[in-house]
């Protein structure tokens, strides 16, 4: 007999209600930005490769794009610390021009839902092959339709595997002018 079948139904109901109640605290919803896990990317020494970092903004919230339309708005920005001799660059997606109920006549350039930041990774020729961890922070500032939340930083981390460039294709050896018999 399943042991759980011996638990009184009222107790199970109470437990379920309590679990639900814990998620029903007024004002509980806070803005969140999360990053999807990134599989280890293979990057070739001496060449530039792109690693896409996917982020998701919580439902009901928006964050400024990297190029917001006002000098006072805080842009979303990714700062990475790369190991020596690994050169990184960040390319942000275009934001979406949207107006919000608090300012219907003004459009803001924002990210909502899913967005992807492309990171170019170029290990110099001096980098030893192997795995390297790149760490950093995504700085963002979120708002909903009526309020804004202080800037936050989301820790970002991903791994790259530096591999040697494949050897150049071998040329055919020159033909000897001599005739061997």
């Amino acid at each position: 007999m399943n042991r759980f079948s011996s638990i009184p139904v009222p107790v199970m109901l109470l437990a379920a209600l309590l679990a639900i109640a814990q998620d029903d605290i007024p004002g509980r919803k806070v803005p969140s930005v999360v990053m999807s896990p990134v599989p280890t990317a293979s990057v070739t020494r001496g060449k530039s490769s792109t690693v896409d970092l996917s982020f998701r903004v919580g439902s009901g919230f928006h964050i400024n794009s990297n190029t917001p339309k006002s000098e006072f708005l805080i842009p979303t920005s990714l700062k990475l610390e790369a190991p020596t001799d690994i050169v990184v660059g960040v390319k942000y997606p275009s934001g979406e021009d949207r107006s919000f109920p608090f300012s219907p006549d003004e459009k803001l350039n924002v990210y909502t839902g899913d967005f992807t930041v492309a990171v170019s990774v170029r290990p110099l020729a001096s980098v030893l092959p192997g795995k390297y961890v790149l760490r950093g922070n995504l700085k963002y500032q979120a708002c909903d339709n009526a309020a804004c939340y202080p800037p936050k930083q989301l820790p970002v981390q991903f791994e790259v595997k530096v591999v040697k460039a494949p050897p150049p294709p071998r040329k055919n050896p020159g033909q000897s002018p001599h005739i061997h018999t």
């Binding site: 042991r3 814990q22 605290i25 004002g27 608090f102 202080p150």
Partner: protein, 187 residues
């Protein structure tokens, strides 16, 4: 049906744990999210001393006898930008009746940037450079705008989190102007 006492004990422990965890979490979240501290509404507004953008030292208690609209804002807060021009108008409209609007900039921006922002919006009331401790004293201002309406007697009449309509703001100003009027008249 025979009930295994071990299972019953385990369930009882689980329920106790969930209750304890739930209450602890609810209390912690209510403190974190900016739900106001229970003693602010109806209680005396916490006094503070802050520097204004023009370098003056300003205390909330300096305004005792006036109704104070205390607005926490920041330059990065678009909804704040919407209501600030309303405060400018309302300060003009009700200033003669004893309203004093005070802005507290909860910003990392430089005072010069804050001043530029306020000037662009035509702000005609003191803007103070905020400190986290002041926000904490008001229940932890975790999102902006956050506005406290303080009566002439120094007691919090209402507190509003997030952007509200101009009409609601005006209604709260009237309430603040009304509160403590009897005390004021006796002086």
């Amino acid at each position: 049906m025979r009930r295994d006492p071990i299972v019953l004990i385990l369930v009882a422990l689980l329920v106790t744990f969930m209750l304890a965890f739930g209450f602890h979490r609810a209390r912690r979240v209510s403190n974190q999210i900016g739900a106001p501290a229970p003693n602010t509404k109806g209680g005396v507004a916490p006094d503070f001393t802050l520097q204004s953008l023009d370098g003056k030292t300003v205390r909330l208690s300096d305004f005792r006898g006036k109704a104070v609209l205390l607005n926490f804002w920041a330059t990065w807060c678009q909804p704040c930008k919407i209501e600030m021009p309303w405060f400018v108008e309302l300060q003009k409209q009700y200033g003669g009746q004893g309203l004093q609007v005070l802005g507290i900039a909860m910003d990392d921006a430089s005072p010069a940037d804050i001043a530029k922002f306020a000037k662009d919006l035509g702000v005609n009331y003191p803007v103070l450079v905020g400190k986290e401790a002041v926000g904490d004293a008001y229940g932890g201002v975790q999102f902006l705008p956050a506005t406290f309406y303080i009566g002439r007697d120094g007691k919090v009449v209402d507190k509003v989190f997030g952007l509200k309509g101009r009409g609601e703001i005006e209604d709260d100003i009237k309430k603040a102007l009304g509160q403590g009027q009897a005390v004021q008249a006796q002086k």
